[in-house]
């Protein structure tokens, strides 16, 4: 199998081509090792960090930003969004607080990305 892709590991954005089959891939067009790793991962198991928000009560603003603490499988993004959108937090919230543990058995937690003090 052959696939063209744009590397996103840094702002250079190398145009890469990956060829081969499982366990034996050749990557061309990359200018560093990160590019090769990214291309193989995109081919075999693409993953993304999901940054989004959840409802928060008693804080200065109505939404608390959260993210998956590590990249999660791309095909699970919308299922994970459904789970995240059910969460309601109450301030105070601290940056790094676990909002959902091991979301959808991915082994990845959803964490808060902002400290939000309680406001009455």
């Amino acid at each position: 199998m052959k696939k063209d892709m744009t590397c996103i590991m840094c702002p250079i954005g190398c145009q890469m081509t990956i060829e081969g089959s499982e366990g034996n891939y050749t990557v061309t067009g990359n200018s560093c090792k990160n590019g090769e790793k990214y291309a193989i991962e995109e081919m075999t198991a693409p993953k993304r960090i999901i940054p989004t928000t959840v409802v928060v009560k008693d804080a200065l603003i109505a939404r608390c930003p959260v993210k998956t603490a590590a990249p999660v499988p791309k095909e699970k993004i919308f299922d994970i969004m459904d789970v995240i959108n059910k969460v309601v937090l109450t301030a105070p919230v601290h940056i790094g607080d676990v909002v959902i543990k091991d979301v959808l058995d991915t082994g990845v937690d959803v964490v808060a990305t902002k400290t939000m003090p309680r406001v009455n």
């Binding site: 250079i12 200018s31 960090i49 940054p51 200065l60 940056i95």
Partner: protein, 428 residues
């Protein structure tokens, strides 16, 4: 009390400048912020990708801001929130800032130096003059971002985005993740105006079409947006081509059509402005032509990465600290100029004695240049080169030149020019 440094804006530029000024010996530093919290635009940029250069990791906007806010708190730098600056007055060694907030009403602040970090704002529908009514559902991408990420309101269900700037791309993904359908992103230029990784992760990932060389020629709907007419444009003249009209039904139109440095205070104070950047003319430590007034971040030039805003703001903070100690040199050795293919250069001039080891010139190319070199000419001679696989208008070029190299040359004008690389000779 007379402050050493007062900073106008508590966004990424203001925070980094305040920290740098304090660390370099400015004792009394004050940050003035018009919003209800520090952090500026980073608070609504909840996506990841910030800090790769500064911290070597991918942070979200709020996380990036919090690192600097924590430093401001640790260094005990005071700040005033919900505070609007009305005017900056120059009285030579003393500057007076006229400010207003709910608690104190009007109050003047005296300071030895000022750092301008007001950032930039978005161009609106009015600025680009699309024909049609003015129905509900037309937002700038940043306004929609704030509604969704901070206030908790959904901007719409069926959206079209005009302009492929980074905020537009990010919002295409954001709306999709929250259940809306993004029909297309239209870009009048033949190339994207956003970072490559945003095109890949925000559009390609969700099969959102990027219509290059396309614009919106009409907004339909009287009370609420009912659709838009999209037209192909001529690549040279950028004028819509008759006969290419396509109607797209939608209830929301987001505009990501450029950012304008916010320099009302700067202009009123009669600080010199560069017509190419729409920001103040600055030197190597971001000093303006008004002694004691410095500027950094998006108020000087619209950056694409916050990391470079922080980098530039450290210079301004150090510059202000030097100024109050009387250590800032004022003899200008070099002016800079944008030559062929370059739209602007920052800083606009250099006092070499203030440069420590090297100086970074920031600039943007006018169009996509594959296989090109950016060259720095001084008095007709090439003194430095920068190569990249591809130069893109969306990605600021950082051109570093060592102080030791510049010391070898007499004073003059440094011109940056994009030149095609000569074809490689094949050895026989």
């Amino acid at each position: 009390m007379i402050y050493n440094v007062v900073i106008l804006g508590g966004g990424p530029a203001g925070l980094a400048a305040a920290v740098a000024a304090k660390k370099e010996g400015a004792e009394n530093v004050l940050i003035l912020e018009r919003d209800r919290e520090l952090g500026g635009i980073l608070n609504q940029c909840i996506h990841n990708g910030f800090g790769l250069h500064t911290f070597g990791e991918q942070l979200t906007g709020p996380e990036y801001a919090e690192r600097y806010i924590n430093e401001v708190v640790q260094l005990k730098i005071p700040y005033e929130l919900n505070t609007m600056v009305l005017d900056l007055e120059d009285h030579g060694e003393l500057k007076i800032i006229h400010a207003i907030n709910e608690e104190k009403g009007y109050f003047p602040i005296e300071t030895e130096s000022v750092i301008l970090t007001m950032g930039c704002r978005e161009r609106t529908a009015g600025a680009i003059g699309i024909p049609g009514y003015r129905p509900a559902g037309v937002y700038t991408a940043g306004a929609a971002q704030r509604f969704m990420n901070m206030e908790g309101y959904m901007a719409g269900k069926e959206a079209v985005i005009l302009g492929s700037g980074d905020i537009g791309l990010i919002m295409a993904r954001r709306m999709t993740l929250e259940g809306a359908h993004v029909q297309a992103v239209c870009e009048i230029m033949p190339h994207s105006n956003g970072l490559v990784r945003n095109v890949v992760q925000c559009l390609d990932d969700y099969d959102i079409p990027l219509k290059l060389s396309h614009t919106i020629s009409f907004i339909h709907g009287k009370d609420r947006v009912e659709g838009v007419t999209v037209m192909k444009v001529d690549k040279e003249t950028l004028k819509p081509i008759p006969g290419t009209e396509e109607f797209i039904k939608c209830d929301t139109l987001l505009l990501s059509v450029g950012l304008i440095p916010e320099n009302e205070i700067t202009r009123k104070a009669e600080v010199a402005i560069d017509g190419k950047t729409n920001g103040p003319v600055v030197g190597e430590l971001r000093q303006t032509n008004m002694p004691g007034v410095f500027a950094c971040g998006n108020v000087v030039q619209v950056h694409d990465l916050v990391d470079f805003v922080s980098e530039e703001s450290v210079l301004a903070g150090e510059g202000a600290a030097k100024y109050i100690k009387g250590e800032l040199d004022t003899e200008i050795n070099f002016d800079t100029k944008n030559g062929d293919g370059i739209s602007y250069v920052v800083p606009q001039h250099v006092a070499l004695k203030n440069v420590e080891d090297s100086i970074t010139f920031y600039m943007r190319v006018r169009k996509v240049f594959p296989n090109h070199t950016v060259k720095a000419y001084l008095n007709g001679e090439v003194i430095a080169k920068k190569n990249a696989p591809k130069f893109l208008p969306a990605e600021m070029v950082n051109f570093k030149i060592k102080r030791s190299l510049l010391e070898k040359y007499p004073n003059g004008e440094i011109t940056f020019i994009v030149e095609e690389k000569p074809e490689k000779k094949i050895k026989l």
